[in-house]
Symmetry: C2
Amino acid sequence: MAELDERTRAALDGTYFWTLATVNPDGTAQSTVVWVTTRDGKILVNSAVGRKKPPNLARNPSVAPAWFDPEAPYGPIQIQGHVVESYTGDQAEADIDALAKKYIGEDVYPWRKEGESRISFLIEPTHVQS
Amino acid sequence: MAELDERTRAALDGTYFWTLATVNPDGTAQSTVVWVTTRDGKILVNSAVGRKKPPNLARNPSVAPAWFDPEAPYGPIQIQGHVVESYTGDQAEADIDALAKKYIGEDVYPWRKEGESRISFLIEPTHVQS
């Protein structure tokens, strides 16, 4: 497991958007824009059951989060890592609410769809280029 | 080949940074922050021989460029596509200079390393979510 340096941690703990690359079942690249946070030195992202990321990550846990400072885009942060834990249920629902609080100041994530189940992924970074 | 809608074209032709996901030889995800432009409805990116992207793309031409508006990050643009052409030589060197002109107003790319060969990739979008 690679350490998250101070700059990377600030970029993850701030209200910045990141992109997250995963690999599709057919071996092609996929990338989405995500909210992120950290927990115990790992990177936490949250998705919804039924989207592309959950089956992609169940099949191939590798991910590549990337970030640049919109105010000073040179010197991006490019991470490689893999999902070491994923879960649905109360904690995953609480995680998306916490992300909504962090990013948009709302206690409850306002864009939950009827019947939607949230799913969280904890990512262990294996290589951090910052 | 998918059409680039007007908003996507503006995001590619502006001075925005994008992230570009590729797949490593071991099947893991990789992502880098890139300058981009368009040519004949395709997306052009430029790299240097010796970096990770050229061998990744020679082995697996699939890419996923992603973008969000830093001023209004909801409604990201997430593209899937594949490299249909790559080349080194005079045109690739001219391409990086044109990108430097576009992004930083310099006629000649100022960060070329001694002996560096540039390589361009033309990406055909197959799916555009905008």
